[in-house]
Symmetry: D3
Subunit: 134 residues, 6 copies
């Protein structure tokens, strides 16, 4: 149970409904996941977060499936169950295979390991890594 009540579509204000409608239209689904129903508790956060996610996760220089895998990588690193599960579902829907999930988790695990080896030993950054490589 979340720390604030969830707001269902039928109980939502016009402001909240407009966001809910845009979420469902953009995603071509007829349901809303709990995350949005909780954020609706604070309409400016609902609107701002949805518009940001919509912009950031749209196809661009990186394709949507890769973006979903990056989302899982961050969420697994932070240990956020909600985001791990919801983005694993989205990535599966977008075509992530078993082999891709296996490799994704392997990279996430290794990066978390070597981050601590580099920090734990206080490895100095090589001069050649300091120049912006544009």
């Amino acid at each position: 149970m979340p720390t604030v009540p969830m707001i269902e579509y039928v109980d939502a204000s016009d402001e909240v409904r407009a966001v809910y409608d845009d979420i469902m239209t953009t995603r071509q689904v007829n349901w809303l996941n709990n995350f949005w129903k909780v954020l609706a508790h604070h309409p400016p956060t609902l609107k701002r977060t949805w518009e940001s996610i919509k912009e950031v996760m749209a196809p661009g220089a990186i394709d949507p499936l890769v973006k979903e895998m990056i989302y899982i990588a961050v969420s697994a690193t932070n240990g956020c169950e909600y985001c791990i599960r919801s983005h694993t579902a989205s990535a599966r829907k977008a075509g992530m295979t078993d082999a891709m999930l296996g490799e994704l988790m392997a990279v996430v695990g290794m990066a978390n390991e070597t981050n601590r080896l580099a920090n734990g030993y206080q490895v100095e950054v090589d001069a050649r890594f300091l120049t912006p490589l544009r």
Copy 2:
């Protein structure tokens, strides 16, 4: 300055040199970055970490550039300067454009934000996200 002395190639034991050689051959470079020279302080860690990285970062179901971007995503989330800089350099070398870096950081930022919104409000996982979607 790291917390242990770095071991240069000329000072390395045969065991360490064998790993150093494999790193340079695999990466087709003639230099070693500081990370490995520090790990060489503990040869079993050098060997195990290199062999793991070599296996995990190899081409597979996910292509190497995407793997580098996932590495950056984890390292930025953990705030590891060494890994951010070294993997940004690797990703650039593997073809990451300005637009890709911009979108990568945007996704990393959003994921870190929504991870805390989901946890901070204790959003309950939707039943439909709980089934393994194989």
Copy 3:
């Protein structure tokens, strides 16, 4: 279920009971939350932690409600369910409104996002931020 048994008041040693009594007197309640019953497993930790919390959360230059909101900010960032829920309850009791919780979460989310943008791009600290501004 915690990894150690909880110690109820009736089963507590005199040393533990003295802390339990002080918690209930200070907070003007007649019950103990699970956190303390678990810490009682190691009486020096129970005593030290309670005395520290009592000192740190007391009214001072920052008012108690703001301190509770800072506690929630840290706990949401770390993803600690117990502390998120217990301090959200305390903050509510101390007067946190729906609007305040909404704004608190918005700031926590943004800070987590920009922390990663700053680290991910390795933004250099501006010289003007380096001088202690006392």
Copy 4:
């Protein structure tokens, strides 16, 4: 040195300049801190992040100084030097006294400690903390 070049005002596109102007006008200053000059590398992220920060940090149910202190709390927890230093400067400017900074850090430290005690012992959430207290 950041991983991408910083974009100075004179070199900025119209799109970026419009954001730069709004930052300086809103904050009533005639300079830009490095964070924005780095984000300008990816204009959509610059625009979205600035508009979000502007909305989130504005006066509301929580006053701006408290918002700055919450920002410091998160940044100290994540170990982000840039954000710790820039928001400590902002909080000082907004009136944070030495005593307030001292108490802020004390709360941040304690929260980080008890988060790990609660998680490390896997303390179960008390039933009374599970009900939304609206």
Copy 5:
């Protein structure tokens, strides 16, 4: 429920069974914990992770019980329930007493607190701590 199906011994491929057998033989038990059954979803990760853990947790310059306590310290800091519970069980089996667990948690809590005090105030490293002390 994990995000991928668990693979039981009877359903495992020869490659997976070989790892399962080695786990049970090395640990002198006749059961497998869920972690391995989930990793078996991606056999290279199962094999590499098991071989790494087997090497790293073996008796050496640090005794196995201390290694288990270090594992708990990291897992409590990261808030990983699975690892906290499984390594608390292993440490108990290896001889960790109530007093040891109490002191371990106390150190973990204090380290998490002072890490944030040091970062939050941006304490500068003393020159005498910068020299490798070999």
Copy 6:
């Protein structure tokens, strides 16, 4: 440079000097590291933190060298440079060998890796790990 001025012994109030004296006496040294000179900015935090550290790091059921290694494990996981360097120095002084540091870092790295594998796949805790094993 820290965000607050450091307070040297000669400039310290009687209250702060009493703590400084106790630190030097307890540790049998004639100097103070920067951490304490910064905390002295807020005397109650200086006093409380020192007394807590003194109690927690004293010999007990776990020996002081192991406590120092646990401190390093947490600090490396959190990426706190100050604490990594100061506690690596303390551990060296207390007898940590090269081999011990190598094994410590190996365990820290593996724990950070498997924490993410367990969370990333949402591995369910085995029933046998749920019972307190006292």
